[in-house]
Symmetry: C2
Subunit: 296 residues, 2 copies
């Protein structure tokens, strides 16, 4: 049996009691370590779980999954995933490969906390979120804004958008690669401030280009909430305009950002405003652009 | 400190290791038992956690929360919630009351698995879901279809809709109440089949009434996925048309239903079709109405 086990968001003790029992008895234990990371290192997990853990990078999971699945039709293998098992499509893909294996490998999934629901800690109602989008690091000549039309779709319906932020772990250094050397760049995690900055930039670029490409959905005075290390003791939530959030340092990773929809209800506002950088300004903009618009 | 602790979806061992430690040492332990239920009874939790548990019904949480919060500025109180703490707005409300209490009561939330992400087990991508909607039991003279325009908004964008199904626990029997007696009805949990049935009915009613009120979004041949007891060993997933699902018995609660959006990608289809009641028909409809529409 292949057990795909969610670890939750913060540390070694966010695994479920059931998940821990399986980890302790499994033949081999893998940790997927490229779509998200915990706030603690692998050796902390190993010490707590009493097991040695094999790191599964993107290449192993996507191209060499045979090594993970070997013998799993007979013995138990645990595949640990930060957050919830189905937070990344790559895990559904792994489950599918088990099913299509000959002989088929039975799988079982143990769900756990995900950023998709933990974001409820902001006070924004999970029922008022539209589709989730991803934001990648803008590079010099590559500033992909495919997130923009999706945010716009949500915004048109008055819905919030959760924006998941890029992480780069174990990326080969391209300059070293040109010289024939295989060196890894240090890990990079996008901050909520960087995300806000990129959103403002795209809004400006669109405004400066063709007519109609800019819609104002990620303009300076749009309200948003930045979150960091949700679900951990050191979690941090900061609310404000995108312009304000672009200046906020939320500390260590992982960060995410929520862009608020105009249906933001009075009850949500009452909760969220406690996290505001500048409460007076937050209230003013909420009353001007959001308040009462959600009444149906 | 008030700890709002998610229990996950299935049984007593889905609590996190961290959550269990808090439950064991808390002064009092409450279980919120009206927005969702576990698949095991309170006494199973009590035996496993080694604690006696106070059931908190809707009235206690919403109108008499003082009893829950009493002394929580000095001692630890655990408030257990099935699924994830922020899956229901009532819990955000409780956290807000702690903050506004005098003196303020510190709170901490321990996220856990939620149906909102566990539904990824269907193979449908969590990034392709729009807003979540709720379906209540239709009564003789009350058939509220406020879910319909929201499903339509998602459908217009090609997005999936997760539909959470009504549960009725500890509801007073109205006929007995008329006679001055306070008797509770047995608990009721909406099945995926009942939900599909109600959706078909509303589509028909709208088609028979004014022009333009019916849009076909919950018509007979729309593809959907019914899920039951997700995250447990006995989880069941069945895919098919709404008409087919209205005839499917998924067994014991809790059930939910996903209405598929036309952006359903080939990879999602490949996963989901394995759960189809009638795979040939499922494939045919997918190819006719969904396939390739999601390519951007």
């Amino acid at each position: 049996m292949l057990y795909i086990i969610g670890l939750g968001l913060a540390d070694e003790r966010d695994i479920s009691v059931k998940g821990l029992e399986i980890v302790k008895r499994a033949e081999r234990v893998y940790l997927e370590a490229y779509t998200a990371v915990l706030l603690v290192d692998k050796d902390v997990l190993e010490a707590y779980y009493g097991r040695s853990i094999i790191i599964a990078d993107r290449e192993t999971v996507e191209s060499r999954s045979d090594s993970i699945l070997a013998g799993a039709d007979k013995v138990d293998v645990a595949f640990l995933v930060v957050g919830d098992p189905f937070s990344a499509t790559t895990h559904a893909d792994l489950a599918l490969r088990c099913r299509q294996n000959s002989p088929p490998i039975p799988t079982r999934t143990l769900p756990n906390a995900s950023i998709l629901t933990a974001v409820g800690a902001t006070g924004l109602s999970l029922y008022s979120f539209g589709q989730t989008v991803s934001m990648v690091f803008y590079e010099e000549n590559w500033r992909p804004d495919s997130w923009y039309p999706k945010v716009k779709e949500n915004a048109d319906l008055g819905l919030h958008t959760l924006i998941l932020l890029d992480i780069k772990v174990k990326e080969p250094n391209l300059k070293a690669l040109e010289r024939g050397k295989y060196v890894f760049d240090p890990p990079r995690f996008m901050t909520a401030a960087q995300c806000a900055e990129q959103m403002l930039e795209t809004e400006e670029t669109r405004a400066a280009s063709e007519e109609g490409k800019s819609t104002g959905v990620s303009g300076k005075e749009r309200l948003a909430v930045g979150v960091a290390r949700l679900g951990s003791e050191g979690e941090k939530i900061v609310a404000g305009t995108l312009e304000e959030l672009a200046q906020q340092d939320l500390g260590k990773p992982l960060h995410s950002l929520v862009l608020c929809g105009w249906k933001m209800h009075e009850m949500e506002w009452e909760f969220v405003r406690d996290f505001a950088v500048d409460r007076e300004k937050f209230d003013e903009i909420w009353k001007r652009d959001y308040a009462g618009k959600g009444v149906q």
